[in-house]
């Protein structure tokens, strides 16, 4: 028996993996739409547009300039993401150049509301919108459990399975969960 959360996650995952459209994109907006099918290899429910990695696509008379920005400088997912962009655009023989931009530097504020919703449904607490706490030993502000919504949670580790997350535990439902840390 699959639990409701697993089913939901699978349905979101499937929605992302819809086949590529037959029609070749004809302008920058359509290229953005097309590239929005590419998901983060570590968090397959969220696409690169929702995550704020895909910054812009512009037509440059002869080719499209696709601007992307890394979340963390050492994030190994960036190589995968760039390869996925190439694969998709090559399928349509679209001329392009990928530009990796570091400035302004990526922030979790760029994750769209839909992106944040999808993270939560997937079991990852989205970055808090509250003031960032700077004092030592005060954790990262109030982080709600993505499963039971309790605010009674505790930081287990500032660093977790990927560079962009930290590890929490819910004191109500006792489940551990990832928190997409503010950056």
């Amino acid at each position: 028996m699959k639990n409701p959360i697993t089913k939901l996650v699978e349905s979101i995952g499937n929605e992302q993996k819809s086949p590529l459209p037959e029609k070749k994109p004809e302008n920058a907006n359509e290229v953005i739409q097309l590239l929005s099918q590419i998901t983060d290899p570590e968090i397959p429910v969220i696409n690169i547009h929702e995550l704020g990695i895909l910054r812009n696509v512009t037509w440059n008379n002869t080719y499209y300039e696709v601007t992307i920005t890394p979340t963390y400088v050492g994030c190994p997912a960036m190589g995968m993401i760039e390869m996925s962009i190439r694969q998709v655009l090559d399928q349509y023989s679209i001329p392009y150049k990928i530009i990796t931009s570091l400035h302004p530097s990526w922030t979790t504020d760029w994750i769209t509301d839909i992106g944040k919703f999808k993270l939560k449904e997937y079991g990852i607490a989205p970055p808090s919108t509250q003031k960032r706490i700077q004092n030592l030993f005060e954790g990262q502000g109030i982080v709600e459990c993505p499963r039971c919504n309790s605010a009674n949670t505790i930081l287990i580790s500032e660093f977790a399975s990927t560079a962009c997350k930290s590890l929490y535990k819910c004191n109500e439902c006792l489940e551990p969960f990832d928190y997409f840390k503010c950056h």
């Binding site: 963390y72 400088v73 570091l102 400035h103 530097s105 030592l136 580790s157 500032e158 660093f159 399975s161």
Partner: protein, 248 residues
Amino acid sequence: MSLKNYTLFLADTSLILGQRLGEWCGHGPVLEQDIALTNIALDYVGRARLLYQYVSELDANGKSEDNYAMMREEREFKNLLLVEHPNIDFGFTVARQFLIDAFFVPYLEELSKSKNERLSHIADKALKESQYHLRWSSEWMIRLGDGTEESHKRIQSAVNSLWEFSGELFSPVPYEKEMLLEGIAPDVENILTRWNQSVNSVFSEATIIKPKDSWFQKGGKEGVHTEHLGYILSDMQYLQRTYPGQDW
């Protein structure tokens, strides 16, 4: 030439520290801290890559970022002596990390205002990561310093041994001075004041006694290293030296 050397100093410092932290992979005292150490390592290796990529663009001899990391010898590396020190134990690694994080946070803040756009963008990106690292290393300095008798003893002795390598952070070599004049590198005099503030406040909470400044070891920035660097390089560069150009 000075810009290239200066960028190599930043790149080499990042790479060697990344490699040292990476040695903790699978050896951390607890799983969470094993992950923390290797996450920080990853940030440093990422930073090193961006800097080597820039160096290879500055240098029109067709050398790739990998060439710089994997095919140079000790005397060509310009990293700080502080970062090449062996990990010894968790406390020693935390102390080394704290001293460098307390340096990098103000340093990158200033470098992000550099006249060199490329370095300023890299610094801007790396700054947020270093702020997060500093929080982690500060908390651990306090936990260990103000912890048990054993943890206090070890962290104090780590600070004592590392202290003579901290002076190099604030002793500019000719290429740094030139970069400072051109508005590219930060003025380390100003960084020193802020570094001291962080160090004093964390040490006092951690009940760690700040060692007296005496003679400081230097040389790393100009390629004169401790014996430790050769061992790191032989480990790190083994594969590329044995199978040059190997890729995966």
